[in-house]
């Protein structure tokens, strides 16, 4: 049975392994130059105050082959689970149902359950191993960038690091198999698998991930921030012709994933002005500094919802656990469907 599973999966598995291998070789080959730059710019030794070094590193890294490969690394970690779902999962049983060979294999001296269990376990193991190796290489390769940018929690990066891609590869495979079993047609099953996987990759970061662990909620009086260059207390300050003003306060939480960050009035609603024409706007004299002072005098509070950088691993594990739970449920449904609905 293991032999049959391998015989039927070896071509698509080989193709994905070749893709992963090629990417891994490119990453391994270009990382030494990246680390040289990391050391040369002083990033390795700068400790906690690395702003200048980081700027220098990011500027000079643009000339390295590693810069586009950083993006490639993220792209393949989203692509590979999708490929696994579409080309390993969806045809796995749909092709047997479509070509009639299920009647051949199900009339051998082996239960359908065992047949399916071997196929599902072997396929899922190969899928997760592939994604795991790829994630390991990409996470390792990208570590200088991730250290400098300190943004491992932002959705694009988070989903392409650590253990999360392993869980998504398992999910993609199980989802593909189930859709193939339900639709009984290979090509429609592949298409629907792609659509659903894409939807999951949109829904998870936008609606689910931020709340897997209740996010932190800061609500404090809006005060002047310790001045950087020019003393801006705000990330953003936009005034409109109609007299309204919108302000995004700075949030001094390095590496945090900010879910919402607003300046609110005493009653809790988002501050919109109207602004004082003497301090802000076209007719005002005294520049942005005066306007800023005026905003700060409006008795506002900063209301921020975020996941701090320290939550990176807890979020990785919780999301992986959730995805693997869904994977297990989909697989159980596949067993039920194959045993009951297809007989």
């Amino acid at each position: 049975m293991t032999w049959l599973t391998w015989r039927q999966l070896r071509t698509p598995v080989g193709l994905v392994a070749a893709l992963v291998g090629a990417v891994a070789i490119a990453l391994v080959a270009t990382r030494p130059a990246l680390m040289d730059l990391f050391r040369a710019t002083g990033m390795e030794t700068c400790g906690s105050n690395c702003e200048a070094e980081a700027k220098d590193f990011l500027l000079r890294s643009e000339d390295l082959a590693a810069a586009p490969l950083f993006l490639v690394g993220i792209a393949v970690l989203y692509l590979v689970p999708a490929i696994i779902g579409i080309f390993w999962g969806a045809p796995l049983i749909a092709r047997e149902l479509e070509s009639g060979t299920y009647r051949l294999v199900w009339s051998q001296s082996i239960t359908r359950t065992r047949w399916l269990a071997v196929k599902l376990l072997a396929g899922a193991a190969a899928a997760m191993l592939t994604a795991g190796l790829l994630s390991l290489v990409v996470t390792w390769f990208s570590s200088p960038f991730d250290t400098v940018r300190d943004n491992r929690l932002i959705p694009e990066v988070f989903g392409a690091r650590g253990v999360v891609p392993i869980a998504y590869a398992g999910l993609a495979f199980a989802l593909g198999v189930l859709i193939g079993v339900v639709l009984r047609r290979t090509v429609p099953a592949m298409a629907l698998t792609l659509v659903l996987l894409a939807a999951i990759q949109v829904v998870m970061p936008t609606l689910v991930r931020g709340h897997l662990i209740p996010p932190l909620h800061d609500n404090a009086a809006l005060t002047a921030q310790p001045s950087g260059a020019g003393g801006d207390s705000f990330e953003e300050m936009i005034m409109s012709m109609d007299g309204s003003i919108s302000v995004v306060p700075k949030l001094a939480k390095p590496g945090a994933w900010v879910l919402s960050n607003r300046a609110v009035t005493a009653d809790g609603s988002t501050f919109r002005g109207p602004f004082d024409p003497a301090s802000c706007g076209r007719e005002a004299t005294g520049g942005p500094g005066k306007c800023e002072k005026w905003v700060l005098s409006q008795n506002l509070r900063q209301d921020a919802v975020y996941q701090p950088a320290s939550r990176y691993w807890p979020l990785q594990w919780v999301e992986s656990g959730l995805i693997l739970l869904v994977t297990a449920l989909l697989s159980l449904l596949t067993f039920w469907w194959v045993r009951r609905r297809l007989s």
Binding site: M1, W3, L4, R7, Q8, S99, G100, T101, R103, L104, V105, W106, S107, Q108, S109, I110, T111, R114, S343
Partner: protein
């Protein structure tokens, strides 16, 4: 004694569509059984219920005195599905490996010997085989399990006459040598006429008639005479089919007792005409005056 198949009130529905309706049937072992009926009559459903691919919606089926579905049971029942499915990208040798891996009772020597005798190249992919060769490969897989009962669903429907003869010949040789019980389905009686000694006619998801071929032939008669109503026949005669022209009546009658009314001319009936009479009756159509094969 063990029966090949015993069903009681066997019913299978796909959603609202009834494929097999309340079938009660006993098929003895050691026979070559022809399962005949038009396309869509439920032949495939009955065979797939027998090999455990499908579960009954209602009623029971026992094959070799056991409920189908367990691996031990599957080892005793060989099944060649309709259109003889094989894995197009697997070679013949890989198919034999597949059979060996999935069946404890696998007879590797038998399988390889059979492939050799058929003159097939083990390295050839199944997708490159002709229809007849593919059917032979599927049959080899079923035979090498050394089953007690072989079920074949329309095995020769897609084969040309020569391949059909070779296929059936190989099948009969094996059956005779190993004492295997055999059930073959077909929508054409002609395919089975020379091979089967037991007949089941399945029409419109119901069993119309089942029995030993010789008994069936002895009991069925074509009766012709000047026009008279069927009711005028003596009791104990079941009229399967009747047609009347202005002057003459023709009937197919089932009766164990002889018909000695001088009004009627009684003739024996061929197997094909017998089956067609049952099919025509079920279809409720006015048949052609002369019953002939469909080909």
């Amino acid at each position: 004694m063990t029966d090949a198949i015993t069903t009681r009130g066997l019913t299978k529905k796909y959603g609202r569509k009834t494929a097999l309706n309340d079938c009660t049937l006993t098929v003895p072992t050691g026979r070559v059984v022809g399962l005949v009926g038009p396309n869509g009559a439920g032949k495939s459903t009955l065979l797939q219920l027998a090999c455990g691919l499908l579960r009954p919606t209602a009623g029971t089926i026992e094959v070799l005195d056991r409920r189908p579905g367990s691996p031990e049971h599957s080892a005793k029942v060989g099944f060649v599905a309709q259109d003889t499915p094989t894995y197009a990208h697997l070679s013949i040798a890989e198919h034999l490996r597949f059979g060996r891996a999935l069946n404890h009772s696998w007879d590797d020597a038998l399988a390889h010997e059979r492939i050799r005798r058929l003159g097939l190249d083990p390295k050839q992919k199944a997708g490159k085989l002709s229809g007849g060769q593919r059917a032979q490969l599927a049959l080899t897989l079923a035979m090498a399990k050394r089953p007690e009962l072989l079920l074949l669903d329309e095995p020769v429907a897609a084969l040309d006459p020569l391949a059909r003869r070779e296929f059936l010949q190989g099948l009969m040789e094996h059956t005779a040598e190993h004492g295997t019980s055999l059930i073959l389905s077909s929508h054409l009686v002609a395919d089975l006429e020379r091979t089967c000694d037991y007949l089941i006619v399945l029409v419109d998801s119901r069993i119309r008639v089942a029995g030993d071929v010789d008994d069936l032939l002895a009991e069925h008669h074509r009766v012709t005479g000047a026009r008279r109503e069927a009711a005028s026949l003596p009791a104990g005669h079941e009229v399967i089919y009747q047609t009347h022209t202005g002057k003459q009546s023709t009937m197919i009658v089932r009766s164990s007792a002889p018909i000695d009314d001088p009004w009627w001319t009684v003739e024996p009936l061929g197997l094909e005409d017998l089956v067609l009479a049952y099919m025509t009756e079920a279809a409720g159509i006015t048949p052609a005056p002369v019953l002939e094969g469909q080909r």
